[in-house]
Structure formats: structure tokens, C-alpha cells
């Protein structure tokens, strides 16, 4: 017993002596590591840039120009943006093998900014005015700017010129056309309205909203997904399904490929889809026309979701200022235009809106037009709790299992509970 006690004492002593060996620090005199001024003395050898898959061709040219100006090499790596980018950043960043500059969809920046994976930027006024206001809003979180927009996308109206002469101006026209056209496996108009990303267009157009906006910040406590407008919008969605204008086969996870397949076979006159689908339709030999979404029966435009893609500086970068300089450099109008020509992703630079390259491109023109009515997808982390319940509820509505009001109430209740469980700190 005694022996054990004395032993314990010894061990405690040794450990105690060692535990006192923490790093020596004066309280509150932190040195902000990695905050180097962007002057020649702190010039890094190279900047590592992560661009989306299959989209980095233009960077070689622009990177070379940047090197000419500054002498800093640009190393480009392609990483799939939608899901892999943030995962890679989380893993590689702390390990010191991450990028200096990366690209992200704007709806992910909230959670990444919160955790410090991406750095806040402070840009001059002239850089700020380079982009449209809505795209800058999308790149801001909690009152701070976290990136510069490179492109935006929003769903538009795509039609088969052989089956539809010109784009209708109102959804009522589309409805009448569809009533007439939809038979024997042909459809007048299709949209994936069981998916909240697309369904937000009619729901928002009738007056629903995800989070209310108070003084430029989104209020996650104020949900507008079961207000009168949202219910009306969902009833409108329900109509298309219940009258058999949309088949059951385009519901659910594989609905998108089913819809594309039908359109590519020339069985569908028009669809609602994003700019990413244009090339596939063209490749299938369909002569497509593209326009902004037709107006809803209440005379309002469709409030589609806008997704902005932007350039960000990694929170782990050793050369944040140079990384920011690089971003400012590559988002200049001429390079944004070069990027558009290679990737067909519509830039949000003010100076390019009337540029013939974009104004004469039907796809880009339609996206730009629709963007005026679009709302940026909320980028606060709470948005993560919205997708699932909304998809479930919309699915029960379009399959006729539940009425819109009840389904939306259930969804909102679920969303609120999840926000409370996962985001009350």
C-alpha cells in the first residue's frame, strides 16, 4: 500500500513537472502567423490553385501572365468542386499541403468560413464594383466578404425548336400548350419540381422564402417555407403532377437523368434546367432555344435559385495577401471573358454584361436575364438542414400522398428541429 502510494507520488511529480512545460507565452500577445504583407520581401515561390475539374485550361495562360507580372509561379490542380473541394481542403489545409487559392460554390462558404477554412478578404472599392451586387452578396457571409465571384448559374427555360416555335412568356401559355401536347409519351414541359433547388422557383415566385433577410443577414429563425405563398406555389407544382403533365418517372433521385433522356429523344418540347445541361442536349442533336423562365400565373417572375461560384483564399495559406492579389488579377474582365469562352460559365463582371461575346450567346443571355429575378441560395450553414426535409415533403406532395399545406408544415417543423439540434450554440 505504502509502496503504491509513494510510486503514485513519484509519477505525479514527474508528470507535473512535465505538464508545466507548455509553450511559453505572454497572454494576449499573439502573433498572427501567415499574415505576411504582399511586398517583394515576402514573395512566395509559387501559389497553388485548385480549379474545378476540366475547367483549368484558361489558367495556364492567365497564370503565365501573372508570373510575368509578379514572378510568382502558379501551380494548378483540378479538384471536383461540388463535394471534394471542401473535403480536400479540410484534410490538406491543416497538413500544410493545401492550396492557396480555391474555388467553391457559394452555398458552402458559410460553414467553411465559420471553421476558418477560408479567409475573409478586404478588397478595394474598384474591385468591389467589378461584379454585380447579387453575386457579391452571395460571396459574403456574416457581413464579411469571403471570395470574389467567377461565374453564376441559374435554371432557365430550354426548349426544342422543332416542337416549340418560340419561348412562351407566361406559364399559362406553357400549361395550355402542354395540355394539348402531352400524350403518347410526349410531354410539353418538364421540371424537377420534387427537388427543392428547382421547386424554389415557383414557391419563391408566389411569395415563399427560405430565410428572411434582416439588415443584409439571413435570419435562420424566420422560415418562409410554409407561408401562404409557399403553399400556393406548392399547390401550383402539385397541379402539374396530378394532372399527369409530369410523369412519375421524373420523381426522385434519378429523375434528372430520366428527364434528360426524354428530352434527348425529342419527346419533350421544353424543360427547366441549368446551363450545365446545354451541351448535353446539343450533343444529342437537339436544336435548342434558351430563354428566361416564363412568368407565373400571378404575373410574378420565377424566383430561381442562383448559384455563384467564386475564388477563395485558403485559411491555411501562408501567403494570403498574394493569394488575394492573384484572385483580383484573374477576375479582371478580360480574363473572366477568356474563362467564359473556354468553360461557357457566365461571369458576373459588370463590364461583361453587354459584351457581345455574352450578349449574343443565347444561353448566357438567358442566364443573365433570369439572374435579375434569381435569389442567391442561402449560404448560412443552417441551409444544410433545409434540403432533406423539403425534398421529402415535395416528394410526398407530387406523389399525391400529402396535401401541400400539411407537407410544408411538417417540413418546416423538421427543419426548425434540426436547426435547433445542430445549430444552437
Amino acid at each position: 500500500m505504502k509502496k503504491a502510494l509513494s510510486l503514485l507520488m513519484v509519477i505525479m511529480l514527474v508528470l507535473g513537472a512535465l505538464a508545466a512545460c507548455g509553450p511559453n507565452r505572454e497572454e494576449g500577445s499573439g502573433n498572427d502567423s501567415g499574415e505576411k504583407k504582399a511586398d517583394d520581401a515576402n514573395k512566395p515561390e509559387k501559389l497553388v490553385v485548385w480549379e474545378d475539374e476540366k475547367k483549368s485550361g484558361w489558367l495556364d495562360e492567365v497564370g503565365a501572365k501573372f508570373e510575368e507580372e509578379t514572378g510568382i509561379k502558379v501551380e494548378v490542380k483540378e479538384v471536383e468542386m461540388a463535394t471534394k473541394m471542401k473535403e480536400q481542403l479540410r484534410l490538406d489545409g491543416p497538413a500544410g499541403t493545401g492550396p492557396d487559392v480555391l474555388t467553391l460554390p457559394h452555398d458552402q462558404i458559410g460553414e467553411l468560413a465559420l471553421a476558418g477554412h477560408i479567409a475573409a478578404l478586404e478588397v478595394e472599392g474598384d474591385v468591389e464594383e467589378r461584379f454585380t451586387e447579387s453575386s457579391m452578396t452571395a460571396e459574403s457571409y456574416d457581413g464579411k466578404l469571403y471570395g470574389l465571384p467567377k461565374s453564376s448559374e441559374t435554371p432557365v427555360f430550354v426548349y426544342n425548336k422543332e416542337l416549340m416555335e418560340e419561348a412562351p412568356k407566361t406559364m399559362d401559355e406553357v400549361y395550355t400548350f402542354s395540355k394539348d401536347f402531352t400524350k403518347d409519351g410526349n410531354y410539353g414541359f418538364l421540371a424537377l419540381w420534387d427537388n427543392f433547388y428547382f421547386a424554389h422557383a415557383p414557391i419563391g415566385g408566389f411569395g415563399g422564402y427560405v430565410f428572411a433577410e434582416n439588415d443584409g443577414a439571413l435570419d435562420a429563425k424566420d422560415l418562409g417555407l410554409n407561408n401562404e405563398g409557399a403553399v400556393e406555389g406548392t399547390e401550383y407544382i402539385q397541379k402539374w403532377y396530378s394532372e399527369g403533365l409530369f410523369p412519375k418517372g421524373i420523381v426522385g433521385e434519378n429523375g434528372g437523368s430520366a428527364m434528360d433522356g426524354l428530352f434527348n429523344e425529342g419527346k419533350v418540347a421544353s424543360v427547366m434546367n441549368g446551363p450545365w445541361s446545354f451541351q448535353g442536349y446539343k450533343d444529342a442533336g437537339i436544336d435548342i432555344g434558351i430563354s428566361a423562365m416564363p412568368k407565373l400565373p400571378n404575373g410574378e417572375p420565377m424566383k430561381t435559385f442562383m448559384g455563384v461560384k467564386g475564388w477563395h483564399v485558403s485559411g491555411y495559406s501562408e501567403n494570403k495577401e498574394w493569394a488575394q492579389k492573384f484572385i483580383e488579377f484573374i477576375t479582371q474582365d478580360e480574363y473572366a471573358k477568356l474563362r467564359f469562352e473556354q468553360t461557357q460559365e457566365v461571369p458576373t463582371n459588370q463590364g461583361l454584361i453587354d459584351d457581345p461575346a455574352i450578349a449574343d450567346n443565347p444561353g448566357a443571355k438567358a442566364v443573365a436575364e433570369q439572374s435579375q429575378y434569381a435569389v442567391p441560395m442561402p449560404n448560412i450553414p443552417e441551409m444544410g438542414e433545409v434540403w432533406g426535409p423539403m425534398a421529402d415533403s415535395l416528394q410526398t406532395v407530387v406523389t399525391g400522398k400529402q396535401e401541400p399545406k400539411a407537407a410544408l408544415d411538417a417540413a418546416v417543423k423538421q427543419i426548425q428541429q434540426n436547426i435547433e439540434a445542430n445549430h444552437s450554440n
Binding site: A19, C21, N31, S33, G34, K413, Q414, N422
Partner: protein
């Protein structure tokens, strides 16, 4: 202390001297060993001093100031490393004390101490298994034990989206996570429903697959059955196809509007489209059925093997005594089969308790239920997955992992203890 006739008090002196490793050994005039101990200790302290100091500081505070680049999770990892290294050090230290004391005892009893040569021989003869085991053991410590400790510690922090490095520090919060799981309504309700379904799923799916496997094996084992080989081959097939593929195929077959189950099979019987994917009850039934399908061939194959080894005399004797077929099954076949396969059946239960694949691939744990933040068919493990991957609730997920592990470990130990097959006695 037993009363022995000691002539001197060397053992205590040596023990006291060995507080600095090696000195006690030198006092016994074992200079080489003493020197070795001394050098090892000095080297250990020199090499690991910083790591242990920094690590222990890190794990107690989890960082104090973001601006110094404190990364709580890394600090925790350093801390665990420091503790493991310290334990090795303390182990060595204790060994040195014991060695000094034991040799002191020997001297006190007037015995001769072993020479270097004898000691070396002793070490090689008795220490051989340890020597061979140590590389594997070291690997095990860092590959298996280390992550387990990490998860356990994580359960006592507040690591989530709002407290995650590099922007924020993580703090120790004691048992707050466990309190939350049982106190906050949504967490409690979710935990209880998920746990209940997990248990139902485990017992339902496993019992069904075991019963089906054993039943079919006995059926196919009948003496006068023709074409045994071909029938057995067919029954093994579900096991031969990778479960990943089968589950995805099943997910397609159960699709409500295009799936063959609703369209062709049930339609044939005039049953209208059942909500396989959108009603929790139906999804659960489908899942248990699928798992039975995936799991029975293994039990079937195993039981078939066991049946071959049951001696015919038993049945002959039973026939002489006038036993019915059912009595033979109940009193001879079943006990022997269960006796031989008990350990495997237990592992089947624990495997299904954590059978992530089938749940995740079939319907992603869906359909959604209101009033909880897990899907209707989420079992604990898939709920933990979605908590970490989509909600970034790392510490809650760790806490639930801990609860889950406690359940699995207790059940496993209890069952292993109870089954006769683990005791070294023969039944036959």
C-alpha cells in the same frame, strides 16, 4: 510482506537509489545494466521531453490562443501520443525499480546475483514471446488503440461546426454531450427511436437469416434428396454476389413506380403500389428481408458442414427409442448445430448491429420522420455517419459511438461467456 530472514536491508537501499534508474543496479555492481538503464532514461527524457510537455499541456488545455495557431484537434492528438509515450516510459521505470528491489532481495537472502550471461540467457528464454510480439503490439497501439482513445476523448469535447479549428478552439465539456443526448428532447427522442429500431433490426434480421440458413441446410441434408450439389450451389449464390451490388439492385427493385416488386410481382397478386421507400414500416420490412437474403447462405454453408459431422449412431439410437422426426431434430440436430456455430452466430448479431452498408445503400436511412434528426431506418452507425458527414456534430457522434460500443462490447462479452463452445469441455 511475508516474514523472511533477511540479513541486510539492501533491497530498500537499492529501491531508493533506483528512483534514478540505473543507480540501484550499479549498487548491485551490475554496472553494465545500470549504465544501460541510466543512458536509456536520459535519452528518453531528452528525446521526448518536448513532446510530452507540449502534449500534456495541449491535451489539458486544448489550446489557449488562436493567434498562436493552436489547433485543438492536433493538440489532442499530440496529447494522446504524449500519454502513450509516457506510459511506455513509466513502464520502463517501474521495471527498473522492480529489478533493483528483486535483486536486493536476493542479496538480502544471501543468494548470488545472476551474471550478465545468465541474465541474457534468461531474457532470451523467457522473453522470447514478448520479443516477437512487440513490433505487432506497437503497431496495434498506434493503429487501433490510438484512434479509439481519440474517439473516446472527442466525446467529452464540444467539437462541432461552431467550435472547430482553425477558427475556434475546442473545449473540454465533461459529460455535457451525454447529458444533451438524454436531456434535449430532439436528441433523446432520436436516440431512443434509433436505438429501438437498431435492436429490432439486429434481432429481426439476424434471427431470420440464421433460422432460414439452418432450416434450409437441414432440409437439403435429407438423405433421399436428389441433386444436393446443384441445390446447394443455388443457395450459396446470394453470398457469391457482392452485397454492394445486390443492395443497389434491390433498391431499384423496390422503387415505388418503376420497381419490379410493385409493378410485376405484387401487381400480379392485385396489390397496389406499396410505399416501400416512403413509409418507414415498409422500408424496415424490406430491409429485414434483404438482409435475410444476403445473410442466410453463409449460415447455410456453415450448418451444412456441421451436419456432416453428426454421427449417424445418434439418430439410429433415437429411432430405436421410437423418437419422432421432430424429436430427433429438437434433441439431436439443433443443439449440436447451435453448439458448433454459436460463436459465429454471435458475430452475425454484432455484425448486423453495425451493418452500415445495407442501410445506407438501400435508402440512405430514409424515409424521413418528423420529430427527430435521423431517418426512419437509420441504425446507430448510419446516424453517426450522417451526424459527422452532414451536420458536423463530431462530438455528439463520438458520444453516440461510445454508447454504441458499450452496448456491443457488453453483449459480445456476455454471450461469449455464456456459450459452452468457448469453454474447454467437450459436448460429445
Amino acid at each position: 510482506m511475508e516474514q523472511q530472514s533477511y540479513q541486510k536491508n539492501t533491497r530498500k537501499t537499492a529501491l531508493a537509489l533506483s528512483l534514478i534508474p540505473g543507480l540501484g543496479q550499479m549498487y548491485h555492481r551490475q554496472f553494465l545494466k545500470g549504465g544501460f538503464f541510466l543512458i536509456m532514461t536520459a535519452a528518453f527524457i531528452l528525446v521526448f521531453r518536448d513532446l510530452i510537455g507540449y502534449g500534456l499541456w495541449g491535451i489539458t488545455t486544448l489550446g489557449t490562443d488562436i493567434s498562436y495557431g493552436d489547433h485543438s484537434i492536433f493538440l489532442m492528438v499530440y496529447g494522446i501520443l504524449a500519454i502513450i509515450v509516457s506510459i511506455f516510459g513509466i513502464g520502463f521505470y517501474l521495471f527498473n525499480l522492480r529489478d533493483a528491489y528483486k535483486n536486493g532481495e536476493k542479496r538480502d537472502r544471501g543468494e548470488k546475483l545472476s551474471t550478465i550471461r545468465e541474465q541474457y540467457k534468461n531474457l532470451v528464454d523467457n522473453g522470447f514471446p514478448y520479443l516477437i510480439m512487440s513490433p505487432g503490439f506497437l503497431l496495434l497501439v498506434f493503429v487501433v488503440i490510438f484512434p479509439i482513445i481519440f474517439v473516446i476523448l472527442l466525446a467529452f469535447t464540444n467539437y462541432d461546426l461552431y467550435h472547430s479549428p482553425p477558427a475556434k478552439l475546442v473545449d473540454w465539456v465533461g459529460i455535457q454531450n451525454f447529458v444533451d443526448i438524454f436531456k434535449i428532447d430532439i436528441w433523446r427522442e432520436t436516440f431512443i427511436t434509433v436505438l429501438a429500431w437498431t435492436l429490432v433490426w439486429t434481432f429481426g434480421a439476424t434471427t431470420l437469416q440464421v433460422a432460414l440458413g439452418v432450416f434450409l441446410a437441414i432440409l437439403v441434408n435429407q438423405k433421399d434428396l436428389k441433386g444436393k450439389a446443384i441445390i446447394r450451389t443455388v443457395f450459396i449464390l446470394p453470398w457469391a454476389i457482392p452485397a454492394f451490388v445486390s443492395i443497389l439492385v434491390f433498391a431499384g427493385m423496390f422503387n415505388e413506380s418503376f420497381g419490379t416488386i410493385n409493378r410485376d410481382i405484387l401487381g400480379f397478386f392485385g396489390i397496389e403500389g406499396l410505399p416501400w421507400m416512403t413509409e418507414p414500416m415498409y422500408t424496415r420490412i424490406a430491409l429485414i428481408g434483404i438482409q435475410a437474403w444476403l445473410g442466410f447462405p453463409f449460415i447455410f454453408a456453415m450448418t451444412t458442414g456441421v451436419l456432416q459431422s453428426i454421427p449417424d449412431e445418434l439418430y439410429e439410437a433415437a429411432t430405436v427409442d421410437g423418437a419422432s422426426a421432430f424429436q430427433k431434430f429438437k434433441n439431436i440436430t439443433l443443439p449440436l448445430v447451435l453448439f458448433a456455430t454459436a460463436p459465429i452466430i454471435i458475430t452475425q448479431y454484432t455484425f448486423n448491429f453495425n451493418n452500415f452498408n445495407v442501410i445506407y445503400l438501400f435508402n440512405g436511412g430514409g424515409p424521413a420522420l418528423t420529430g427527430q434528426n435521423a431517418g426512419g431506418t437509420d441504425i446507430l452507425i448510419s446516424w453517426i455517419y450522417s451526424l459527422t458527414m452532414t451536420s458536423a456534430q463530431y462530438s455528439k457522434a463520438a458520444a453516440i459511438t461510445l454508447l454504441l460500443s458499450i452496448i456491443v462490447i457488453t453483449v459480445a462479452i456476455w454471450q461469449f461467456k455464456r456459450t459452452k463452445s468457448f469453454q474447454e469441455e467437450d459436448m460429445m
